[in-house]
Symmetry: C2
């Protein structure tokens, strides 16, 4: 008796047992095997999977920690017993955020031993990024933070030919170099001090799918993907883990800012799915616990990640290939629809700004 016949006898389709066309039987058996594999695998990894991320007692450094995702990560990890340093430009926002982060840890027995700190710095500058990291380390006897979240970032969506070059330069400087400066210094210090730390870059789903209106933002965030891929391999030399997070739109002050300059067509193409920073932080945490290199915050993001992997590690070989297949199927119609929106919008964008 084949597996499929055996299973069928417990279902309302028991009469089919033994009468299935051999091809149908093979296909159904395969499907059952794959679904069971995914279920068992996910169950086993929940039960047996080694947690690869334990922030308790670790010093966590978060750039862009005064609001949005950065603050949410700070609160979440403070509640789990990490020492937190947040870094951003605005001192007042830092003070308010630090109070919230402390509040998240106040229920803990070890609260009095936890060190909370904030540093104001302009992360678009290398010297400032180095100084901020040095100040954070100073509170821990000069030891570099164990876990670095390079999270500071900003998005100004606009029509390409209307967007000033300064916007392109600013976003690359903050989103990419802001992360690089911190990561470069931190990796060097970790290597020197023998700290087997972690560096986590916060990119964006908009890095993995480039649509109209994001021509300045997408490249700056995609550059972080490239950096992650290189460093994931190279920093094996010093046992430093490197990860990249690709969250979708989050309901933050940043998003409200963005929407002011976002072209109507861009809004139409991307839709208005969004999640809270707390939800995104939770996804990031789960991904880190599993040891995933590329981490996303929802199913669509996961599917897009799976369809752009190249030589990057899959999070789950079988599930990822299914997700990749899903994108393979939907990408063409989705692209044709979005392209049609753009084509239909031609007349609205036919007034070309005068040359400057």
């Amino acid at each position: 008796m084949s597996l499929i016949d055996y299973i069928l006898q417990f279902t309302p389709y028991s009469k089919l047992s033994g009468n299935l066309h051999p091809i149908a039987s093979v296909i159904v058996t395969l499907l059952i095997a794959i679904v069971s594999y995914i279920m068992v695998n996910s169950f086993m990894s929940k039960i047996l999977g080694r947690n690869q991320f334990n922030p308790q007692g670790k010093h966590v450094y978060i750039t862009g920690g005064s609001r949005g995702l950065g603050k949410a990560i700070g609160k979440m990890l403070a509640a789990k017993g990490a020492h937190i340093t947040i870094c951003a430009l605005n001192e007042k926002a830092l003070d308010i955020a630090l109070e919230e982060i402390k509040g998240a840890a106040r229920h803990r027995n070890d609260y009095s031993q936890l060190i909370f700190n904030s540093v104001s710095a302009d992360l678009t500058k290398n010297e400032e990024s180095i100084r901020a990291l040095d100040e954070a380390s100073a509170k821990h006897n000069g030891r570099v933070p164990d876990i670095i979240f390079c999270n500071a970032g900003s998005c100004i969506p606009k029509v390409f030919i209307e967007q000033p070059i300064e916007d392109f330069e600013y976003m690359m400087q903050l989103n990419y170099f802001g992360a690089l400066y911190t990561a470069h210094k931190a990796a060097k210090l970790m290597a020197q001090q023998g700290v087997k730390g972690k560096i986590i870059f916060v990119s964006s789903l908009a890095a993995l799918v480039g649509i109209m209106g994001y021509s300045a933002y997408t490249p700056s965030k995609l550059a972080l993907r490239g950096l992650t891929e290189c460093l994931r391999q190279e920093l094996i030399l010093y046992d430093i883990g490197v990860h990249c997070f690709f969250p979708g739109n989050m309901d933050t002050d940043g998003l409200s800012e963005e929407n002011k300059t976002k072209p109507q067509l861009t809004k139409k193409i991307e839709g208005d799915d969004k999640q809270t920073p707390e939800q995104a932080a939770k996804s990031l945490y789960k991904g880190l616990c599993k040891g995933n290199v590329f981490i996303t915050s929802d199913l669509l993001g996961d599917a897009i990640r799976a369809s752009t992997l190249g030589f990057v590690e899959a999070n789950n070989g079988i599930l990822d290939s299914f997700l990749c297949l899903m994108i393979w199927i939907v990408s063409k119609p989705a692209r044709l629809i979005a392209d049609k929106f753009v084509r239909d919008g031609k007349s609205e964008y036919s007034v070309i700004p005068a040359d400057n």
Copy 2:
């Protein structure tokens, strides 16, 4: 009689006809169908496919046109009857290259009507990039070039923590912003003048696979992929075509320069496959003729492209999914081997440079 039985009777396996296990029969039939589809499809597109790229009589503008791939593109398109403007920093190199490019067109009857021009400019600066484009247009009554190759680029591979921040900034400035400045101005002029042109970014295979030693180069070239994806959609507004080329290593002066600073481990991981700039230029030309958005220069490149597509258009749906499957199979062992090289090399890289 099934298809497979019909085919079998013409082969040495004719005895199998009618005796194949149904599953084997299905699999063999599927394989035959797919291979035939790919062959017929490729044959049909060669015979019937509309050529989507005709440079004859067009003004082609090539940044980094004084050597390597840029010069090879110039020679190839001059031979096909295009007006050529090359742009680079070194005037002497420009003069020599322009003579070679002219030489490639000298056999043509319309040679005397073709305009060849060179402009010296520092493409890492926006004002200079704009001036260069203006000078090129001036020779054509102020009309923006029809076809723009943003090709200028440079690579300094190095160990991450030893690489000075200035290298990261320089490569991003030349490889990404050097292309952006030209593309931004050109797109605006094309939109204003109603020129239905083409913009082609030259990225690199090293953008799609990030390995040790390329942490400054990969992000700068991957940013161009993101820019292409956004602009491919957005510039539909003005009927401007956008493409991105991902060549592998080419046998050029640039590569010899690179190899001087390239870590031994990086050489070990990437191997030493390389092609001539002329071969790469030919692949690029073929891809443009087919209207492909992402173009590569060899089979491995094509497979890597297919495995990182996301929402980008496939060049050939069926073939690309096979290539993607191929990478799916080899990526894990390949990654594990490369990671092992790095792990085994730990002792060589254990001397951490003093802090600066």
